[in-house]
């Protein structure tokens, strides 16, 4: 840690000028101005929510949720898109949670926070969180489909057409897993930091090794945090479109995906297609609004649960 730089901002000479406060200064006006910004942000959220709810609520019915699209998406429901979204996020969670949790365990339990490797890992994680989602899409196409899938085909199916080297739900899920990895790591790390040291010491005192302590004491204690991370990742993955446009999402499929190398329909991509490529926007509008409402409610619900869980963890830490 470098020495605090006191000279740059506070010197005795400017103290006398800069910090002479006129006693009459009222703070009503600036305070109202700052509050106005908060009010505008809340109004933006309210306008979006109200518009989507009013536009979509009339469309939502059991039939809409349980039947496939008909007549070029001008009628029918969105069941295949809901099914595809669930399949995508389930496969994604299976991939991202173990990797994210072990990364967090490694960072918190094994390494010295000042070491070069730890710093490098932290830079990588922070930057991974900032890579544009369309770049993940390019990566999924170039790496998973072109490189991994293409080589699998060369090895096992040299005679037939592409089996793995084409857009598929497995590649879309793995691309999304990489995108949501930082979310799981950060959330798990927070949970690990909250575990009292006495717990670990007690475990060691009972003769446990480090690995036994991690698997039987630390990880069970960190479960709520891991769960939060998983939910946040699902919320993010369910709404992202750019990473899966080229790696597996389909405009329309007459069947549900059943194998890992099938393509799939998904709520976000369905929204994009209906909003931009529909021949008659007015006719698809009710279904479009209905789809957006389902997608928005899904992501809000997930985020809401995650926020609740997290605040519960935080209160527990304070009371402990």
């Amino acid at each position: 840690m470098s020495a605090p730089d006191r000279s740059s901002q506070f010197t005795t000479s400017d103290l006398s000028h800069q910090y002479q406060f006129s006693p009459k200064g009222s703070d009503t006006l600036p305070r109202a101005l700052m509050f106005l910004a908060v009010a505008i942000i809340m109004a933006i959220l309210a306008v979006i929510l109200i518009d989507v709810i009013i536009g979509g609520i009339g469309t939502i019915s059991w039939e809409f949720l349980s039947s496939p699209p008909e007549q070029g998406m001008e009628a029918g429901g969105i069941f295949p898109a809901i099914f595809g979204t669930l399949m995508l996020v389930i496969l994604m969670v299976i991939a991202v949670v173990p990797i994210g949790v072990f990364t967090a365990v490694y960072l918190q339990e094994y390494t010295d926070p000042q070491s070069k490797l730890t710093r490098l890992l932290r830079i990588a994680i922070n930057n991974l969180a900032g890579v544009p989602s369309i770049v993940f899409g390019l990566f999924g196409l170039g790496f998973f489909i072109g490189f991994v899938g293409g080589n699998l085909d060369k090895l096992f199916y040299p005679e037939s057409g592409p089996v793995w080297g084409q857009p598929a739900v497995i590649w879309a899920s793995l691309t999304m897993a990489l995108l949501t990895l930082p979310v799981v790591i950060v959330s798990t790390e927070e949970a690990l930091r909250a575990i009292p040291r006495e717990l670990k010491e007690a475990s060691y005192a009972l003769g446990a090794t480090k690995l036994q302590t991690i698997f039987r004491v630390i990880l069970p204690q960190a479960m709520p945090g891991i769960f939060t991370g998983g939910i946040l990742a699902v919320g993010r993955g369910a709404g992202e479109v750019a990473p899966i446009m080229f790696t597996g999402a389909a405009y329309y499929l007459p069947y549900l995906p059943a194998k890992l190398n099938d393509q799939f329909m998904v709520l976000g991509y369905h929204t994009y297609v209906m909003a931009t490529q529909s021949p008659d926007v007015e006719k698809t509008k009710p279904i479009l609004y209905g789809t957006v409402l389902v997608l928005l409610m899904l992501t809000f619900l997930l985020n809401f649960v995650a926020v609740l869980l997290r605040s519960k963890i935080r209160t527990r830490r304070i009371s402990a």
């Binding site: 990588a124 750019a242 994009y272």
Partner: protein, 319 residues
């Protein structure tokens, strides 16, 4: 009690376990390296392959070109015409325009809301504002794109009598909605981290709450606000679905905020599906991806460095 009865385990097992965990932890690092390698790899033909260079070179992507006789040299992006034109300038201008509008909209709102939340709001108000901002951050970008396309575009066109329904202003404002939470969260964190002793000193000198926040907290938290703006700008440059749906996607080189635009990210999203694998056009799209990756990598890194320095300084001052 059975759960906590530990049988002694071999050192070999401990060793293998630790190595496996360490190996998994490298995934993020390997991931980011692979992203760069595999995207850059596909754009290499532009630099080395003779056949590709017949169609597109760095020169032609940057400088104005003459395509037909007795016409002035121009920047044109038309990769699918008889004479493919690959000038990146219209896309660069479009990307910058959308990002600038987004920043002009989001920065004042985000920073002012952060000041209110950290300096003036009661604990209960804080507990309302923060989840609301998190909710805003949780809106999928495709939903914001949809909203801008269907609702905001019509509103703006009627309000200002615009020629193009989908334009830079429409896309920029919608983009700003995703940037507000970024700037708010980082600024608010930085202000909350300013030590109480600084505030106490100002109060002792007779400052009212407003003067405390403006002369003490804001200057001390300024690097944090700057980091928020840098990170928000990186997001604005890379965000895809909103601009793809709300900007009109016409590659026009103009300075007007009410013309349609086509951004780097939207170009990749709109064209990659139809492009021939390995063609010059394909390489150019991956080069654009590389540019986006490098740019956001730099904004993230600088935002990170600023925040780390600020944290160290504020903690140092406390002691």
């Amino acid at each position: 009690m059975d759960r906590y009865q530990f049988k002694p385990k071999s050192k070999v097992r401990e060793f293998i376990g630790e190595k496996l965990i360490a190996l998994t932890a490298l995934a993020a690092l390997i991931g980011i390296v692979l992203i760069f390698v595999f995207i850059f790899k596909e754009s290499i033909p532009i630099f080395v392959d003779k056949a590709t260079q017949e169609e597109v070179t760095i020169d032609r992507m940057v400088f104005k070109q003459t395509f037909y006789e007795d016409e002035d040299a121009k920047w044109i992006w038309q990769p699918n015409s008889d004479i493919p034109k690959y000038s990146l300038m219209p896309l660069f201008i479009g990307t910058l325009k959308a990002a600038i509008i987004a920043m002009l909209f989001a920065t004042p709102l985000g920073v002012m809301a952060a000041i209110y939340t950290s300096e003036f709001a009661s604990k209960r108000t804080k507990e309302i504002i923060k989840p609301v901002i998190e909710l805003l951050a949780g809106i999928p970008s495709v939903v914001l794109g949809f909203f801008a396309l269907i609702v905001l575009a019509t509103f703006l066109q009627n309000a200002f009598g615009l020629t193009f329904r989908l334009n830079a202003l429409n896309a920029g404002l919608a983009l700003g909605i995703t940037i507000i939470p970024v700037i708010f969260t980082i600024s608010e964190d930085a202000m909350t981290a300013v030590p109480q002793s600084l505030r106490d000193a100002a109060i002792a000198l007779g400052a009212n709450p407003w003067q405390v926040s403006f002369t003490m907290v804001l200057p001390a938290a300024m690097p944090g606000i700057a980091a928020g703006i840098v990170l928000g700008f990186g997001r604005a440059i890379g965000e895809t679905m909103i601009v793809l749906m709300a900007s009109g996607n016409a590659a026009i080189s103009s300075l007007s905020f009410t013309d349609s635009i086509r951004t780097f990210s939207a170009t990749i999203a709109a064209e990659l599906a139809e492009v021939v694998f390995g063609s010059p056009h394909y390489s150019v799209l991956f080069l654009i991806g590389t540019l986006l990756f490098v740019f956001t990598f730099l904004t993230n890194l600088s935002g990170d460095i600023i925040l780390t320095k600020l944290r160290e300084r504020l903690q140092g001052r406390m002691s």
